[in-house]
Amino acid sequence: MSRYWQLIKIFYGASIAVQLEYRVNFVVNLIGSLLTAVGSLFGLSILIAGGSSLGGWNQTEAIVIVGVFTLMEGFMGVFLYPNLNKIGEGVRTGSMDFTLLKPLDAQFLISSRDVNILRVADLLIGVGLIVYASLQLASVQAPGVFVAVLLILAGFASIYSIWFMLCTTAFWWVGVENITELFWGFFRAGQFPVTAFPGWGRILFTFVIPVAFITTVPAEALIGRGKLETALGALGVAVLLLIVSRLFWKFALRNYTSASS
């Protein structure tokens, strides 16, 4: 266990040290995160103009979802994007060989190699929005909060697994990393409660691209509207995705043909 921790310290420490050298970048990204958050809230206000609800969620409740969404975007930008999209490059250049030769789980090495500290504001803003809205809602209770945290972690796991599977296809196809941009694009539907979508939209965003399980369900749990079935469903989906992505990864390794010299 301590090996893993030590490696994370070295990897993350180095990344952060390099990134902190460029303070302007930091400020610029901070502004970007703030602007995006403001934009999302502005957009929300347009949707909820005149006191109408969004799929049965009032403004304060909808802010919780925007918060969870921003938190997830932060997770993707900080932890996933800098690492997983390099899988294709590793296969192409042959550096994947070296990763596979190490006596340590390759999936861990790949996933922990880098961290993009510049987008950390997204994580903070997300949490900030969630806390701000929760404080104003009487329906937020301790057990709900506890379940919500669990479901948010499950959401992280689900996103990680989906993204990881998409990037694993780089073992066979070139340039597939851009598919993750498509996923990221569709994920924007997650800033709205899934009930805001008409029937076919709800199906799409629950079963095809499980955005609903990732943003709406944790938010529901938080504001006290959670249902046991959906919460268990979200946890189940997360576990299933983790298992499937791991199996797919093993399959890819077995069929690895390694760039020739």
Partner: protein
């Protein structure tokens, strides 16, 4: 230490002609071809041996090495390294071996080399005491002072290769797979690297398989060589025997200052090629200096180079002549 029997690796490749016509044709009937990168290879290597793998590009050397390192799943046959089955990629197996590939590196690009060492120390679970001892030896043997704290991307190719080797051997592996480790390096660096590998082999009784395009690498380090061609082994035995047997000649390259007719050149030695002012003569090894001296004093020579024939040529000769010993 290393045992290989009838090892094979096949790839299926889609054959497609270029262009739109080709695309359309392959749309209607797809042709696949099986490429036999390694087609039945067998050998045994004892602990502490240093063996050179020679062969043209695409002969199957690197593929064999990668199968022995556990990166590739053999299509058929058996391979055992240090008692392990490589493809199972057990942790204890991976700690016993190392693979170094020239032109490719495992060092983390944007960090100082030292950080890569620390990463390896953590991954291979090297105790602090051993790590420090190994580092001390390597710093001295490879002259790493002053370059460890620089970012890897700011190092020259030679410095990078030295750090690469150090990082690869940090965990004191018993089996070394070196795939063209000196490619692209200048002569001094090549010598340095060779000396290091020899020292490591002595010190730790490590088993080494080395592939290279440079005869010098192989002659300096390996007593035994294995020649691979088109996925087969066509020679496995003593190096000196092979050299004398199949390349009794050195190539003397002449740049003449005046055109010299072929017949005159041929009176000195067989002419390999003659192109205007540039000539290549095949001179028997033992007579090289004598003949070269005569050429320089008797012919209008602007420049002369003497070199060993290319490994590819030696191997080429291996086929054409019957000098191969099974």
């Amino acid at each position: 230490m290393i045992e290989v029997a009838n090892l094979e690796k096949h790839y299926t490749v889609n054959e497609k002609e270029p262009g739109i016509a080709g695309s359309l044709r392959s749309f209607f009937s797809r042709k696949t071809k099986t490429v036999k990168a390694v087609d039945g290879v067998s050998f045994k290597i004892e602990a502490g041996e240093m063996v050179g793998f020679l062969g043209a590009n695409g002969a199957g050397k690197t593929t064999t090495l990668k199968m022995l390192a556990g990166l590739l799943h053999p299509t058929a046959g058996m391979a055992k390294v240090a008692g392990f089955t490589p493809f199972e990629r057990r942790s204890s197996f991976l700690k016993t071996i190392t693979l170094v590939m020239g032109q490719k590196q495992q060092l983390l690009w944007d960090l100082p080399a030292l950080d890569s060492f620390l990463v390896n120390q953590a991954i291979y679970e090297i105790p602090d005491l051993e790590y420090r001892a190994t580092m001390k030896e390597f710093i001295e043997l490879l002259d790493l002072d002053g370059i460890l704290k620089k970012q890897v991307r700011k190092l020259s190719l030679g410095e990078r290769m030295k750090c690469e080797l150090a990082a690869a051997l940090l965990h004191r592996p018993k089996v070394l797979f070196l795939d063209e480790p000196t490619i692209g390096l200048d002569v001094n660096m090549q010598v340095r690297i060779r000396e290091f590998v020899a020292a490591y082999n002595q010190r730790f009784n490590a088993t080494v398989i080395l592939t290279s395009h440079y005869m010098a690498d192989v002659t300096a380090l390996c007593k035994r060589i294995v020649v691979v061609d088109k996925g087969h082994i066509i020679f496995d035995g003593d190096l000196s025997a092979l050299i004398e047997r199949s390349s009794p000649a050195k190539i003397v390259k002449l740049e003449l200052s005046k055109i010299v007719p072929r017949e005159i050149l041929e009176s000195y030695a067989p002419v390999k090629s003659l192109d205007g002012l540039f000539a290549e003569l095949l001179v028997p090894r033992l007579e090289t200096s004598k003949v070269a001296g005569r050429l320089l004093s008797e012919l209008p020579v602007a420049d002369v180079t003497i070199q060993d024939p290319d490994i590819e040529e030696i191997i080429g000769e291996l086929f054409q002549s019957q000098k191969v010993k099974p």
